[in-house]
């Protein structure tokens, strides 16, 4: 199979370069319009913040990786790209690479299943642009199956691997349901806003925000449907909140142990979670000594992240096994595409010779023997073709090495002149 793949990703290029070569949906449409017919007959383009990958069936053998790379670089008018920023794959390696991408083991964040949806969307876009063909559609089905199996049969996507999700995982180990709980986010810069958004998405019952600059708090509160507490008086209402998340850029402590103690008294020591994701920290760490206060900072959340990443790394071998199985299944199908017509042509060729010779000599046999002649000659042909047929089927079922199948079919056709016959028939 002559599937070619050219990729630039987080393994091969820095973020500036990846950004420079990123293709938006509109740019992909333009790329496809120019590349279809010139470079590829059919194909697929995946472009995310971590990778831009071009897969395609080249129009002929003259198309090489340099041409594909140049095509992309020229399209994006980027000058400082080196050949080593690209990785190239062909045939089996290209299919395997695509399956590794969709299964999440090639991601920056191992097991990130966002890539599964991104690849799915890329296939959809290629389909809308009529860039897909018989082969890429089948490749899409196989890739989706691989991605689904990786998610459902392994734990490659289990556990939180970002600090904000680790915070949510921790909160869910203390409170059973967030919809009856209230949260206060102190500081709504970029980190605070993401944290507030995460809490909202997980169904927090009541969300309040406080920020030194009230305008910024108002903007975020409007987006998330949250309440605003004035920054200079929020401590008076702290006891009303089950989760307090602090992410300010203050260089001094925002909440002291004494503040927390007072708040705990007012809330009759009902458990409270303090998430300090600010650097430097906003909450006095000794607050964790108070009963029913669950204080956690970036370091403790990073422990969860690292543990989950290690667990995901342990799952890679299981995912690789799935990828091997699905690659073999895909090539079984692909090889059968080439092998079945070859067997048919070979049999037709021999049958033609047999029928011709029998026809020429049929008059030499008595009426009773003619039927026997048919049977005997057919049996001879079957015996001669048995071994080649078995061998070709074996190659097709063996899977991954499509070149072997192609070479053997080609030799067979050359030796018996089957190509010439096919072409003569066409003419």
């Amino acid at each position: 199979m002559n599937l070619a793949a050219v990729t630039i990703n987080h393994h091969t290029a820095p973020v500036e370069l990846r950004e420079a070569l990123h293709l938006s949906a509109e740019e992909i449409a333009g790329f496809v319009q120019d590349a279809k017919g010139k470079l590829f007959n059919e194909g697929l383009i995946i472009s995310t913040c971590n990778r831009t990958e071009i897969y395609g069936i080249p129009v002929d053998n003259k198309v090489d990786y340099n041409q594909i790379q140049k095509f992309l670089v020229n399209k994006k008018c980027v000058s400082n790209v080196k050949p080593e920023n690209f990785r190239n794959y062909t045939s089996n390696a290209a299919v395997k690479h695509l399956f590794s991408v969709i299964a999440g083991i090639d991601s920056l964040l191992i097991g990130d299943n966002q890539i599964y949806h991104q690849v799915k969307d890329s296939f959809q876009l290629a389909d809308e642009l009529m860039f897909t063909g018989y082969l890429t559609k089948r490749l899409f089905d196989a890739a989706i199956k691989t991605g689904k199996r990786a998610i459902s049969e392994t734990e490659i996507s289990e556990g939180a691997v970002t600090v904000s999700y680790a915070a949510v995982q921790l909160i869910e180990k203390i409170f059973s349901s967030l919809n009856k709980k209230s949260a206060l986010v102190i500081g709504v810069g970029e980190t605070g806003e993401i944290a507030a958004k995460n809490l909202k998405e997980r169904g927090i019952g009541r969300l309040s925000l406080t920020n030194r600059t009230i305008e910024r708090a108002e903007k975020v509160a409007e987006k998330l449907g949250a309440r605003i507490l004035p920054f200079n008086t929020f401590k008076n209402y702290m006891h009303e909140y089950d989760i307090i998340l602090s992410a300010t850029s203050s260089t001094e402590l925002i909440l002291t142990k004494e503040d927390i103690k007072n708040s705990m008294k007012r809330r009759s020591y009902s458990p409270v979670i303090l998430m300090d994701i600010a650097i430097p920290r906003d909450i006095e760490p000794t607050a964790k000594e108070i009963d029913y206060v669950f204080y956690h900072d970036i370091d403790s959340l990073n422990i969860i992240v690292e543990q989950n990443l290690n667990k995901r790394r342990d799952e890679i071998s299981k995912v690789e096994k799935i990828i091997d199985e699905e690659t073999a299944a895909f090539f079984n199908w692909f090889n059968s595409l080439e092998v079945a017509p070859a067997i048919k042509s070979l049999r037709e060729h021999f049958e033609l010779i047999r029928a011709e010779e029998v026809g020429k000599n049929i008059n030499r046999f008595s009426n009773e023997d003619r039927e026997k002649l048919e049977i005997i000659t057919k049996r001879i042909i079957n015996k001669i073709l048995h071994q080649p047929t078995v061998e070709l089927k074996r190659i097709s079922e063996q899977g991954q090495n499509s070149n072997d199948a192609a070479v053997k079919i080609s030799i067979l056709k050359d030796l018996f002149g089957i190509n010439n016959i096919d072409e003569e028939e066409k003419h």
């Binding site: 921790l170 180990k173 203390i174 964790k288 969860i304």
Partner: protein, 274 residues
């Protein structure tokens, strides 16, 4: 029939150990291998155990509640069955090994020492006694499960406080759920113990005219009952929560175990029937 009972008597610890092994494997390694089938193993074990209890009742012409080793096998069943119902109702599956281990403990002791009693004292054939013992056993099952969830709560509480995010953190449900499970089990246990005490108070003077209120079993049970009563009331009126309530539950369980041990093995009590 006797041979069948003897066979099941030996089979039961094996079944409980197998079920425990499956629950333990699932707790340790997670995955999808046994996440559903472990419940089926527990169900089969309980079904065999129920058949065993029925067979004993039919063959020996009395329910298996006339001595401590008969009671232990009922207690093993009762703990396992209570957990099974709890798992079905809440779909919380990660706590099984911590509870099934109690069934193993009670069943092994019972298997080793139980005897085929045909002749029992007339006083032990009373229906009121049956009600008294079964409600007491369900009560003890309730407080056993409550104590297990209480201990798990305390371990998870410490782990979260100290940033230990290991197996316990990953596999157990949230602190709030553990506290709720411990509390609900304690309430059920308390209710059943209350029922056992009421039946006991009605039946006791008829069965034992010379009984004494200073009997160690009566004192122990009253203490346990009082502890749980205080805990439940405090929790209900919002005075106590979390660690304090579950600690009380664990203490209550320890007192209940000590009281049973003292009554049956060390001191003389009218509760010792064999």
């Amino acid at each position: 029939m006797n041979a069948a009972i003897d066979f099941i008597n030996i089979l039961l610890p094996v079944l409980y150990l197998t079920t425990f092994g499956i629950y333990f494997y699932d707790f340790m390694y997670g995955g999808k291998n046994f996440s559903n089938s472990k419940r089926l193993f527990l169900f089969i074990t309980l079904l065999v155990h129920a058949s065993y209890l029925i067979l004993r009742t039919i063959l020996f012409d009395h329910p298996p509640i006339t001595n401590v080793f008969e009671i232990f096998t009922v207690l093993a069943f009762s703990v396992g069955f209570s957990y099974f119902i709890l798992e079905l109702l809440t779909d919380i599956r990660g706590t099984g090994p911590f509870i099934i281990i109690f069934s193993i403990f009670f069943q092994i002791i019972s298997t080793l020492f139980i005897q085929d009693l045909v002749e029992v004292r007339e006083v032990l054939r009373s229906n009121l006694l049956g009600g008294h013992v079964f409600s007491a056993l369900l009560g003890y099952s309730g407080i056993t499960i409550s104590a297990v969830y209480g201990i798990l709560y305390l371990i998870l509480y410490q782990d979260i406080k100290l940033n230990r995010f290991g197996l316990i953190f990953n596999r157990l449900p949230s602190l709030e759920i553990l506290e709720r499970l411990s509390f609900v089990s304690a309430v059920i246990g308390f209710f059943m113990l209350s029922l056992a005490i009421i039946i006991g108070v009605i039946w006791l003077p008829k069965a034992f005219p010379n009984f004494s209120y200073t009997d160690p079993k009566l004192i122990g049970t009253s203490l346990v009952w009082l502890l749980y009563g205080i805990g439940i009331l405090s929790k209900t009126f919002g005075k106590w929560r979390g660690k304090r309530v579950v600690t009380l539950s664990v203490v209550g369980f320890v007192i209940a175990i000590l009281s049973t041990a003292l009554t049956n093995f060390l001191s003389q009590s009218f509760h010792s029937f064999y």
